[in-house]
Structures are given as structure tokens and as C-alpha cells.
Amino acid sequence: MGDSVQLFVKFCFGIVAILCLGFGRDMEAHPAHAKPVNYPFVVGFERFHSSVDNADHLAEGGFLLLNELNCVACHAPPESLANQLIGVTATNLEGTASRLSHVDLELMIRNPRFVKQDTMMPSLFAGPDRKLEEVEALKHYLSTFEVTEKIEYPIGDIEKGRRLYHRIGCVGCHAPEVGYRPEGLPDGIEVELTGLPSVPMNLADRYDLHSLTRFLLDPISHRPSGRMPDYQFSEVEAADLAAYLKAGPDLKLPENLSNALDAETPFQTDSEKVELGRQVFVKKNCHACHSMNDIDSEPTRAKPLLQLDFSERKGCFSERPVGGAVPHYGLDEVQIKAITEALKRLPQRQVPDQAGEIDWTLSTLNCYACHERDGKGGTETAREIYFAVNDVGALSLGRWGNIPPRLDHVGRKLTDQWFSRVLLGEGDEGKARPYMEARMPLFRKKDTLPLVEKFRAADQLPEPVEIDTSGLAKHHRSHFGRELIGINGLGCVNCHGLNGKKSLGAPVIDLTNTVHRLQPGYFKELLLDPQGTQPGTLMPPVFADRKNADREIEQLWTYLKEIDQQPLPDGLLTDEDYELDPKTEGKPIVFRSFMENVGSHAIAVGFPEGLHAAFDSKGCRWRLAWKGKFLDAMSTWEDRFCEPAKILGEEVKEIDWKIPEQAEFEGFVLDAKGVPTFLYQVDGKKWQDRVAPVDGKLKRILIIDGEKQKGEELAW
């Protein structure tokens, strides 16, 4: 008797608490929280399916629901569809007790729909047979799952979090903050309201600040389904975002942070109740969705999907919770209709083809929020302003500058390796679109990596574009490609950056990693027909009238293949890139090359003092002196045709000294400072000839057969 009184008191307390919290929540609604719907929110269904669809299309949505609501965890799908309808893994309950206060925990168990109207978690304790002691026990059981080491994260900056949230693609799925004006939006332009449903995130209200940061840092370990992907935030970014999401409507964190930081005083668990709770967990088949380390038993399977009787509104379809182990999802009419239509078509359902499988993955993971493929999905126009650029030049590219790329042809566009990198979240290094702020988040590998092969299979052309990238053909010389890519060729560098250098004009795709990113066939396909390959692209049809397009494209490829070992193209290359500078070197530079007016045996000597001279080692005589900059080594180091080395300085002076005809050069030696002394023989006598700057003048010291001659001035 005493127990029931106690329970009753607790029940009343609970109701009051719920009412208070519920009220409080509504009043405190975060400006970026979408208004929740009153049924389980499945984003792929919400966006692409509605009551006005024809039955076939609605049935497609039904299949999506069967998977996303994890119906298939209890109702086995037909074997042929087992690979597609794999269901989802629900929230990882490890650490629950550290994330949620025990009040929230209890409420979530009693009726998740009350706490989160749009939750996909069904109610199991809302039926007529509800036993509050079971709820209590379950709470005790779940309270044992605490995070062992509690990490303190920095308290984030709300404004930075707010900015981040509205720049990198969060708004692709979630709602933008009401009234927020993205940077750079001109005054007087109204912010368009989003029309498509936004994925709710009421979670922020329930988690404490650190747990939210922790969640953002590693959402997939919290929610193994990966429906919330991992943006690989830095700790600071995650803390900023958490602070923003946790802030009140006034965009301030509560003054007393303890509430936000640490949900609750520790909850004393009772070992008997814990054990009872564990049994309840198994009894209610919770482990069908939540995988638990300490529960080995297989979840109970209900009737397979094919055997379900869906003619009546009973079981999971019931309007009110029926109790027992029957989950109550709170499905709305359209969803019930969709599932019914799906179940009707189940026996005839074919295993999807490549395109179907791709569409399925893009729908379930909501890739469509940002990417378009085959005319489906893509960023909603009203959300495009929440995808930012970090380079004002990119503003002139329109949607090509800020919106994640379309996925049409991606299977023949990206190499498997690069595609995998992108999917594994390694795409940021060597990013092709450095101006784009949107980030590609990381999903579960097992969901995304198979896409690489599926895309490849689905996107192949019946006749692949042929291109020879071997390097074997005579025209496969990288310097040909270099000429083409530069401003004196096709001028690619006007828009494309390369090897760490920005383009001359607006930024578009950086070409540095082209050969790692792109399949050679696609590279050619795109260059030959930019509009046909990427409708709307800004890329001009540069090869339209070129007779040797095939060869030239291979030349471009050869150059890009070796780009890290190649000189930059004309336009991006500057004199400084190959300037020999004795000042930087800190000592004289001695440099042999061809030089005009010095000859084919020229040895130029540059001094840090800014005075330079060139010696003709064939005739054994100084021929030129000049001031300022020294030499451009480009032609000597890179040019196949060995153009003479160019003097970069000024006041070039010809030195017109008479020397005996028959001089034999013998080399030079460097002294401790690196100044060369040229050695040669004239009529059997040994000459030592050294020129170096003294007091702003080039002074010559000549020693003949060990006898020092009178000092001479070479120049100035």
C-alpha cells in the first residue's frame, strides 16, 4: 500500500514536472529550432512524399519509413530486400545518464513523444498496462550508463557558433534562425523563409552543454545510424556551436552555468531496480533498436513484414498505445497510408538496381539536402544563402561558388580513391573548392563507401571516352601542357588556381589535384563539352574549334600529372620564382649558363652587395658587370631550348679589356666567403683573377705567377 502511495506521489510530481518543463520549453524555444511536427519525423519522407502523391510514389516513401523507423528490426523483411531494408541502429545508450537528467530520462522512457513530439522513438510505456515501477526500474538501469571520464570542454562563443551554423551547411538540414541575416546579404533584401521541412534538434535543450559539445564532436558514436553526420569539428567549433544551440532565445547562456553545464545531482541507483530494469529492457524488446553490450539475448521477432495484416488500424498502427511490447510511433495518416501501400507492394518488390540503390542511400542519409542527382534533391533555394564562401571572388560564380556539387556523373567523374577520401572526411586537404565554406560531413563508412562502386557502375558511358595518359606518346611532354594552361595558351590560369597559387581572376576549381581527383575520361569529356557534361557550368568550351583537342587534352593531363615537379604556367609564374638572389643566399652565387655578350662558356658571379659580373671562361675575360638584381635562372633550369640566362639588374656595362689571345681556362676556386678566383694560363704563366665588391665598386685582384698586379676597377 505504502508503495502505491509513494508511486502515486511520484506520478503527480512527474505530471507537474512535465507540465512545468513542457511549458518552460515552449517559452524558451531556441530561434533556430524548427517547430516540431506531431509525428515521427523522417527527413527523406518529409521532403519527397506527401498525401497528394500517387500510391506508387507514396509506397516508395513507405519503404523508407519501414527502414528509418526501424520496423524491420522486429518485422523481418523478405530475404530479397534484406540488404536494402537494414533498418537503423538507435541512439547508443552508453553514457545516457551523463547526458540526460534523470527527470528527462524518466520522461523519455514513459512517453518519448511527450518530450520530443517528432521523435522516431516509439512509446512502450504509454499503454493501458503501463507499470510505473517498470519505468522506474528502467531509469535505474539506464542510469548506470555514465561516461566514465568526464571531459570539460571550453565554453564556446555563442556568436561564433551562430556564424558557423549559418555558413557551413548545417542549414541544409536544420532550420535557419528566425530573423538571422547572413553576412553579406545586402540591406533591404528580405530573408526568404524556408519551405522544405527542417530536421528538428530539440536535443539541445535536453543535453547539458558539455554533452552537446561531445555529441557534436562525435555524433556517430552517439547515434550509430549516422543520420546526423560528423562534421569533424574542432573542439572550439563544437563548443561554439553547442553554446549557440544551448543558448536561450535571447542568445545568452544562463548566468548560472551549472544548470547548463551539469544536468543534475548524481542519481543513486538501486542494484535490484537496475537488474529489474535490465529485464524490462529485454522484455520490451528495446534491444531490437538499441544495441547493448550487456545484453546477449536476441530480440524477439514479430511477424515478418510479408505476413502482416495491415487492413486494420491495430498494433503499431493503432491510434492509441496498445501496451505490451507493441511500440507506439504516433504515425500520422500519410505515414500509415504510405506504409500500407508499401506493404501491399512488398511481395512484388524488385531488388533495386544501381540507380535505385543510390537513390535509397541518398534519401536515407539525406544527401539530397545538399546534393542534386538526376533532378532530385539539392539545396533549397531559400537555404542557399546559408552556404557561405570565404573568397569574395567566388561570389561571382553564383551557385557554383557556394553550393555543394551535383552528383550527376560523379561515378565517372571522381577517381575511386578521391571519392573515398571525400566520403572518409579526408577531402579537406587538397580541396578542389577552397573558396567554398560548406563542408562534406562524414557518415558511416559502411553506408557511404559502397556508393563509390555503385556510382561508378551506374554512371559509365556506353562508350568510355578514350584518352591516353601513359606518357608514352611523343606529345606527352609536360612542357606542352604547361604552355597550354598558361595565359599564352588556353589561359586556364585566368580562373583556375594551381599549386598554391590563386587564379588570376575569379576562383574556380583548383587544378592541383586534378589527376588524383578526376578520371581521365571525364576530364576529356568535360573539356570537350563543358555544357553537355555539367549543364550550366561556367567553364567555356575552349576546345570547341581546336583540331588537336585530343592531343592537347592529353598534354594538359601530362602536365597536371607532374604538376608538383613542374614550373608554374605563364601567368602564375613571376620573375621572382626563378630569381637567383645572392642576398637571400648570404654569399656570392657562381652560375654557369649561356649569356648574351658573354658566350656559351659564361660564368656569372652575383654578390650580396648588389654588384655582379660575368666571366667568359672560353676567352678568359670579364665581359659584363651590372647592378641591382642578379639573374633569372628560368631558361637555364627549365627551358629545353636553353635560352640565354636573363640579367634582371640594371646599368649593364660591357667590359672592354684587352687580353692575350691564347688563354687556357683551368677552373676556379672559392674562398671562405664564397668569392671565386678564376684560374687560367696565358703563355705558360698562371693567372689568378678575382673580382669582388669593395666600397660599392667591383675591384679586381690579379696575380700572375704569384705576383700581385696593380689593383684595377672592373666597374663603378
Partner: protein, 586 residues
């Protein structure tokens, strides 16, 4: 091979757990293909076994089977075109092929198999070094000195290190400001290198690790400023004489100074300088004799490249007074120092085989490298004096290949006092054009210097340094191919499976020559089948003697011995040999 070569990544890529030596260091990006590679490898083996089993006894069918393109084999067999000696076997084979056992296409099997005997490691190079390695020299302390086309000499202090980090190798700059050095040699305590206008001896007098004396060791040839005026070497022969080779110039020079008569002197010549003496011309007729080296006896050889006057690439024995064929160099034959007698007007419409008889003083190459069959542009030369540390090819020569990025192998013998011999494939799959090679001090590895600037080459890099190491496993190869009065004697690296070696149909041979003309390259002409009439296998099962009918002196004799198996059931790694039969031994 559109996707056959995957570029070397500069970014970290996921690497699988498979520590296969080369893919990790060189091609991590294609790592996902490893499994596939092994499958192909296995398929290839099965394919060869089947091929041999089903076709070994029938020459024409075997010829079909040599075609690794299973499709054409199938088509020919099934449509019944051509000779069909054994339809049942063909049909079975075709059936097996159709089961997918046959080799897949678009895959370079040889490279993969070569890899297991001679793995290649790509050395990581610091970003700031443009290591267009044009000359390599092993120093007495084991360090490797590397001359670069940009004009520097680098010392690789720890060449034996195995590391992904460039700095672990310790790269030290020894010399700078040289003018396109193409060759590097360690001789009597100094490094020697050929620049465009002189041979320079580099000395480090104060011992700070950097050269401070750049001394002229040889000079005096013409340099007009034409890009093609490369100078190679030097090498030192057994007497200590220094040798260099000089490219012919292609086109005009540059007006850098008023021109003088000596501006193109000795272009296309090999030069020699005795200790203390002047640099003197030795032989001419060269075009682009980039590979310069000595054999184990100290005789000096050079490679030359296909082009005008050169029908295909070659290996030549440099010797006093010889004229090797490129006519432009004859302009200096009348010079007072020239040891070459001008051959007079060169006859037209002759082959290189006929030139031996008809052109006075013409010296045929010791070895021709049939174009595209075994390279397109021979480069560096290196004699295997590792005493077995690098495998079973003691005293043979290794030859670099530019366009197709590989290293081939040459066996030489003397017949009537002149060198001749055969070339074989050795190791493909370098990342870039091979220019120059040297052995590590312990002889276990061959370093290959690479640069393709100005031309094209198979592979993915513009320059670099790679190391070919002997794994210790002996590949099954034709080790030597000697001419006999009645045919050839082949010595193999492994014991033979006697029945395959005894089988006449295991061998095929043809001979051909080239046009000798001023045009760029030549097709193979006057081709004839060489009939092998008998095979004698030696008692030790190591060698065979082929008795041939229709040997022609002056002709290249191309052998395909792909039917021969080793006792351990391996097929020949390279079944082709190209013997230049300048003289038939009496």
C-alpha cells in the same frame, strides 16, 4: 592503359595493412588495387600453364597462344581461321578461357612478376630539391653523389635507409651553378662531371662538405648554344684514360658572341684524354650517346639513340678510328687530329647489315635494341660488377631506357675480336625516364636517376630517384645468348624442365635488319624466319644449343623461347632475346 598508371599522391591516403614493398612507398593511392593485382597475377600463371599445356607441341597454335589477348585467340580458334592442328585442345582451352581463367586485359603482368624478383623503391625527395638526376656516382664510403640537370650535385648520405621521410636520407648539397651536368664519376678522390662546356673536377679542399674548387679537367669542344649539344660522362677506362661523348647539334646555335669556326667542333664524337694529355677525338658517328660506361674489362661503351642516321637505339664499343653511322659528325673527319678516315660518299639504299661491307670504316653497334620491342631511347650504362650481390648477371651491362622508363640488360661476347651480343628486358615500371644508374656500395641495389624534362616518358613523375633491389630470388631468365658457328647457345639462370627445353616448338626465331639512311629511324626490313632444326640440352640441364638454318651476319636475330620452362615450373620472366649477329663465329 588509360588508368594503368596511377599518379603518385602527395596527400596522405588510406593505406591497407598489406606491406608489399613497393606499392606503399610508391603508389599508395592504388592500394585498393592490390588484391586485384594478386588475382591477376595468379590468373596469369594459370594462363601460362594452360597455354603451354595445350599448345606446346604445335608451332602455329603456340603462336596464337603467345598472344595474350585472349579475345583474339578465342576468335581465331573458334572461327576456324588459320591453322587448326588440334581442335579439341583448342576448344578446351577456349572453354577454360571463357570460364574467366584467362588473363584479364589492360594489365602489365611482367612488371608485377618482375617486382617479386627486383622490387623498386622510390626515394622520397625533399620538396626543395629538383632532383633531375642526370649523373650518379657511388663514393668509396657508400654515399651516393647525384648530379642534377639544374646544375647541382647532391650527396645522399644514408642511401640504405628505408624511410618515408626525406630527411632520414640526409641530403647535402655539394656543388651548385653547373651547366647541365650529364654524368658523374668518382675517380681518384674527386668527383668528375661533364658540363655543357667542360669536364669539371670538384674538390672539397676545406672539408666542409661543399665543393670549393671547380677545376677544368677537360675542355676544347665546340659549344654553339644549340640545345642539343649535350656532353656526357666522363668515365675512366682500365688505363685511367678519361672518356666523354658529345651530342651532335640539331639545328642552329645561338648568337651569344660573334661566332668562331670552332663552335661546332667534335660534335657527335667520342673523346679521350690520357692523364696529363690533351682531349683528343677517338671515334665519330654519334647522335645522342648519353650512356657512357665500361664493362668489367675496362673497355668503354656508349649507348646511342634512334633518330636520323640511327635506325634504332644501340650499344656501341668506343674505339679509335671507328665511324658509327651518323654522317653529320664526319665534318670533322678531315681535322688534323681526327683518327677517323672519311668514308667518302655514303651509298644510298643500303641496310645497316650492308653498311658493314659497303661503308669504309663503318663500325656496327655491338647490340641493336629493336625499336619499341625493347625501348625507344637507351640511356645510362652500368656494368654488374657486384660479384653476385645483384643477382646472376655478373659482368653483364644494364641499360637505362628513357621513354618507356625501364632498365634492360645486355650480354656481350667477343667474336673475331669485336664485341657483339644480345639484349633482354630486365625491369620495367619506373616512375620516370631512367637517365643514369649506379650500384650501392654493397652491390645489392641499383640506384636509378630519373628526369624527363623536354621529352615524354611512361610513368607519373618528372624526375626522381629509385632503387631496384635484388630480392635474393633468382628469376628464370635467358642469362646469356652466345653465337656459335651453327646457331646459338643459351645459358639459363635455372635448371630447365628438360622436355620443354628439348621441344623444338619451344623456340622461334627470325632475323631482320634496318635501313641505313639519314631519315629518322627505320622499320625492320628484310625479315626472315630462322629455322631451328635441332636443340641439344646440356647434361646439367642449364643450357641449350640451338642449331639454326639461315643465319645471316649483320642481322638482328630475335629469339622467342617462351615454351621453355624451368624445372621448378616457372615460365621465363622474359622470353625474348635480341642478338646482333655482326659476325658468325667460324
Amino acid at each position: 592503359m588509360v588508368n594503368g598508371k596511377i599518379p603518385k599522391p602527395r596527400l596522405p591516403i588510406v593505406i591497407s595493412s598489406e606491406p608489399a614493398s613497393r606499392e606503399i612507398s610508391r603508389l599508395p593511392i592504388r592500394d585498393s588495387n592490390l588484391v586485384e593485382t594478386r588475382v591477376h597475377h595468379w590468373r596469369r600463371k594459370v594462363f601460362i600453364h594452360l597455354k603451354n599445356y595445350f599448345f606446346a607441341r604445335d608451332p602455329s597454335a603456340r603462336r596464337l597462344a603467345q598472344d595474350d589477348n585472349s579475345q583474339s585467340l578465342l576468335a581465331t580458334d573458334l572461327t576456324g581461321l588459320g591453322h587448326r592442328p588440334n581442335r579439341v585442345r583448342s576448344a578446351i582451352f577456349a572453354f577454360l578461357l571463357s570460364l574467366g581463367i584467362a588473363a584479364g586485359q589492360d594489365f602489365d603482368y611482367d612488371t608485377q612478376i618482375e617486382e617479386s624478383y627486383y622490387p623498386i623503391v622510390t626515394l622520397p625527395i625533399p620538396d626543395h630539391i629538383k632532383l633531375e638526376a642526370s649523373g650518379l656516382a657511388t663514393m668509396p664510403d657508400g654515399k651516393i653523389a647525384i648530379a642534377t640537370r639544374k646544375g647541382e650535385v647532391w650527396i645522399l648520405e644514408n642511401p640504405e635507409v628505408v624511410s618515408e621521410k626525406p630527411k632520414d636520407y640526409s641530403w647535402k648539397r655539394f656543388a651548385t651553378g653547373l651547366h647541365e651536368p650529364l654524368g658523374l664519376t668518382w675517380h681518384e678522390g674527386s668527383l668528375y662531371t661533364s658540363q655543357r662546356s667542360e669536364v669539371t673536377r670538384l674538390e672539397d679542399r676545406d672539408g666542409d662538405g661543399q665543393a670549393d674548387a671547380y677545376l677544368t679537367a677537360a675542355k676544347g669542344w665546340g659549344v654553339s648554344g644549340n640545345y642539343h649539344e649535350y656532353a656526357y660522362g666522363p668515365v675512366f677506362d682500365s688505363k685511367g684514360d678519361m672518356w666523354i661523348t658529345l651530342n651532335i647539334n640539331l639545328g642552329e646555335g645561338q648568337e651569344l658572341l660573334p661566332s668562331t669556326p670552332g663552335d661546332v667542333l667534335w660534335r657527335g664524337w667520342a673523346m679521350r684524354q690520357k692523364p696529363g694529355g690533351p682531349l683528343l677525338p677517338v671515334a665519330c658517328g654519334l647522335r645522342s650517346p648519353i650512356g657512357l660506361g665500361t664493362n668489367h674489362l675496362g673497355d668503354v661503351f656508349s649507348t646511342d639513340q634512334q633518330g636520323n642516321w640511327w635506325a634504332t637505339c644501340s650499344l656501341i664499343h668506343l674505339r679509335e678510328g671507328a665511324f658509327f653511322g651518323h654522317a653529320d659528325s664526319l665534318r670533322d673527319a678531315g681535322h688534323e687530329l681526327s683518327p677517323v678516315k672519311h668514308p667518302g660518299k655514303l651509298p644510298k639504299d643500303i641496310t645497316t647489315a650492308e653498311a658493314i661491307e659497303k661503308v669504309p670504316g663503318y663500325a656496327p653497334p655491338a647490340v641493336w635494341f629493336p625499336y619499341t620491342k625493347i625501348g625507344m631511347s637507351t640511356t645510362g650504362l652500368l656494368c654488374d660488377q657486384t660479384k653476385g650481390s645483384f643477382g646472376p648477371f655478373t659482368n653483364q651491362l644494364f641499360v637505362g631506357e628513357f621513354t618507356e622508363s625501364f632498365v634492360s640488360r645486355v650480354f656481350l661476347e667477343k667474336v673475331e675480336g669485336q664485341y657483339q651480343g644480345a639484349c633482354f628486358h630486365f625491369r620495367k615500371g619506373l616512375q620516370c625516364a631512367a637517365l643514369n644508374m649506379t650500384f650501392s656500395k654493397d652491390g645489392k641495389s641499383m640506384f636509378v636517376g630519373e628526369s624527363n624534362r623536354g621529352w615524354n616518358s611512361l610513368g607519373t613523375r618528372s624526375f626522381g630517384l629509385e632503387k631496384i633491389t635484388w630480392s635474393g630470388r633468382v628469376p628464370f631468365e635467358i642469362k646469356t645468348m652466345e653465337a656459335t658457328s651453327s646457331g646459338f647457345r643459351l645459358i639459363f639462370t635455372k635448371k630447365l624442365m628438360r622436355n620443354t627445353a628439348e621441344n623444338l616448338f619451344s623456340y622461334q626465331m627470325k632475323s631482320y635488319t634496318h635501313n641505313y639512311w639519314s631519315k629518322y629511324g627505320s622499320d625492320e626490313v628484310d625479315e626472315q624466319e630462322v629455322q631451328i632444326t635441332a636443340v641439344k640440352v646440356a647434361d646439367d640441364n642449364r643450357s641449350v644449343e640451338l642449331i639454326c638454318e639461315g643465319l645471316r651476319s649483320g642481322y638482328i636475330h630475335e629469339l622467342d623461347a617462351s615454351g621453355v620452362w624451368a624445372e621448378d615450373r616457372t615460365a621465363l620472366l622474359h622470353a625474348e632475346a635480341y642478338y646482333t649477329l655482326n659476325r658468325i663465329p667460324k
